[in-house]
């Protein structure tokens, strides 16, 4: 309890200090609860998510950092490893490969990397995974780009 709080405070300070260090990630702590964070990440370039801004919700357990934070997408995203409805993320470092040395910032980086490199073999979004596994790269990309434009981009005119 106390350890997780201290650790989160330190991460908060770190985030405040290095706000401009990583322009692709904006980590914001909840005003009243340090165990609730939200992050805005930019879709990586040369992917169908390019140009989109995706919102993540962090729920940090009290055993953090021994237990990984629970992260999900608040923004709808078409990705084989993200549940289309709940936004749940299938990522090994958020499950069994978690290390207490990771931080929320590094989790954000890992999620950006996952967006660029989907793993269709462990899909949460079966449609997306099936498209990729069947080799329909173009189908996957167009679907993902469409949802990015619909959900992750500011509405234009």
């Amino acid at each position: 309890m106390q350890a997780s709080r201290a650790r989160l405070f330190k991460e908060y300070k770190e985030v405040q200090r290095e706000k401009t260090a990583d322009p692709d990630i904006q980590l914001v702590c909840d005003d009243s609860n340090i165990f609730k964070w939200t992050a805005l990440i930019k879709g990586p370039s040369e992917t169908p998510y390019d140009g989109g801004v995706f919102q993540l919700a962090f729920s940090v357990p009290e055993q953090y950092p021994l237990q990984p934070p629970q992260v999900r997408f608040l923004t709808k995203i078409f990705h084989p490893n993200v549940h289309f409805k709940t936004g749940e993320i299938c990522l090994d470092i958020l499950k069994n490969a978690w290390s207490p040395a990771w931080t929320l910032q590094s989790v954000c980086r890992a999620i950006i990397a996952l967006m660029a490199h989907p793993e269709p073999d462990s899909p949460l979004n079966c449609d997306s995974g099936n498209l990729l596994r069947s080799g329909d790269i173009r189908g996957y990309q167009s679907m993902a780009r469409m949802y990015t434009r619909l959900a992750a981009m500011p509405k234009k005119g």
Partner: protein
């Protein structure tokens, strides 16, 4: 009088040899007072010399300008090499003044020494070089050289000792030597002083400069450890006061940087560049924690987090490999603790060496 002064001189030298900074500070303060006295006396005495001035020739030669002169000459030249006194005068001048500084600055004892000597010599029989103001320095140099060659036989041991002092770094030897030198060169020191004062008389505009140069080593106050190893510390002492701390910083800096570099090479820059706090719980690492290296990957964490991880899944946060001492820990905690501690120690030793 002279013997008294020598005793006075020897006491601060001995007392300042151990690194007792408080004493040293006190000694410095008293030395400032003594310096004031000395200045006053010098002024008095300058006026006397001015009165006598012209009728006294270099009569102080003889045996008086003996081995100490030579010694100081050596040292003066050394000082000159170090460009402590970049003044466009003859070598001897710089040498004398700087040796004077040298004796003056480190251990305040010479101040009292010289001042009392001045007092003792106020009768003025010994005032050499008072008249030949422009020649005094060069003649002094000649005198000292000839005298040194003359007295080489008689004072071989002393000279050898001084060379040994120049070479050796043993502090005790130096202590002895300084005492010896202060004893041996006592009659010559006032010759130096006389030369100085004659210079001052000759070139009045230089007097303030000289005074400041004499004051400077005092004004900076610290002058630590210099009487112990005049030769070792002289450059720092006479030239820059900050250089001593700088030196010590330089000593510590490479060690730190090396450790940092090592840490960085082992485990990125994140976890080991901040070795003061545990990367997991962000609590400060105490000594036991910092010497605790549970995993060969070099990831450090506090014992508390390590125990919690062992209770949990027992994998190193750095490399995600199982901690090696897990099973032993499961059987008997005591042994495991010892083992882990030993491993940590050896690892830390390795990483440091």
């Amino acid at each position: 009088m002279v013997s008294d002064s020598i005793i006075n001189a020897s006491i601060p030298v001995a007392s300042s040899n151990p690194k007792d900074f408080a004493k040293k500070k006190r000694a410095n303060r008293s030395a400032k007072l003594k310096q004031c006295k000395l200045d006053a006396r010098r002024e008095q005495w300058l006026s006397q010399v001015k009165n006598k001035g012209s009728r006294q020739e270099l009569n102080g030669g003889g045996g008086a300008c003996g081995q100490g002169m030579q010694v100081t000459n050596e040292r003066g030249q050394l000082m000159e090499k170090l460009a402590i006194k970049p003044r466009g005068e003859a070598e001897e001048n710089g040498g004398y003044t700087s040796t004077y500084n040298d004796f003056d600055s480190p251990s305040n004892s010479p101040t009292s020494h010289t001042s009392s000597l001045l007092e003792g010599n106020d009768s003025g029989t010994n005032f050499t070089g008072g008249s030949s103001s422009s020649n005094s320095s060069s003649s002094g140099g000649c005198c000292s050289r000839s005298m040194s060659e003359e007295d080489n036989e008689g004072d071989d041991d002393c000279l050898d000792d001084w060379e040994a002092v120049a070479d050796a770094l043993a502090a005790t030897d130096k202590k002895q030597e300084q005492l010896n030198s202060s004893l041996d060169s006592a009659p010559e020191r006032d010759d130096n002083v006389v030369h100085m004062s004659s210079q001052q008389e000759a070139s009045d505009p230089k007097v303030p400069a000289k005074d400041t140069s004499q004051q400077n080593p005092k004004g900076r106050g610290a002058v630590p450890g210099s009487p112990v190893g005049i030769h070792a510390w002289r450059p720092n002492d006479a030239f820059r006061p900050q250089s001593l701390p700088n030196l010590s910083k330089q000593y510590t800096f490479p060690m730190n940087s090396g450790r940092h570099y090592r840490g960085g090479s082992v485990w990125g820059c994140k976890s080991l560049s901040i070795p003061t706090s545990c990367p997991i719980c962000c609590e400060d690492l105490d000594f036991t924690d910092t010497s605790f290296l549970p995993c060969p990957c070099g990831f450090r964490l506090c014992l508390f987090c390590h125990k919690r991880i062992l209770e949990d899944d027992g994998r190193c946060p750095g490399c995600r490999k199982q901690y090696k001492h897990d099973p032993i820990e499961g059987e008997t905690t005591k042994d495991a603790g010892c083992l882990i501690f030993r491993a940590a120690r050896s690892c830390s030793m390795i990483s440091r060496s």
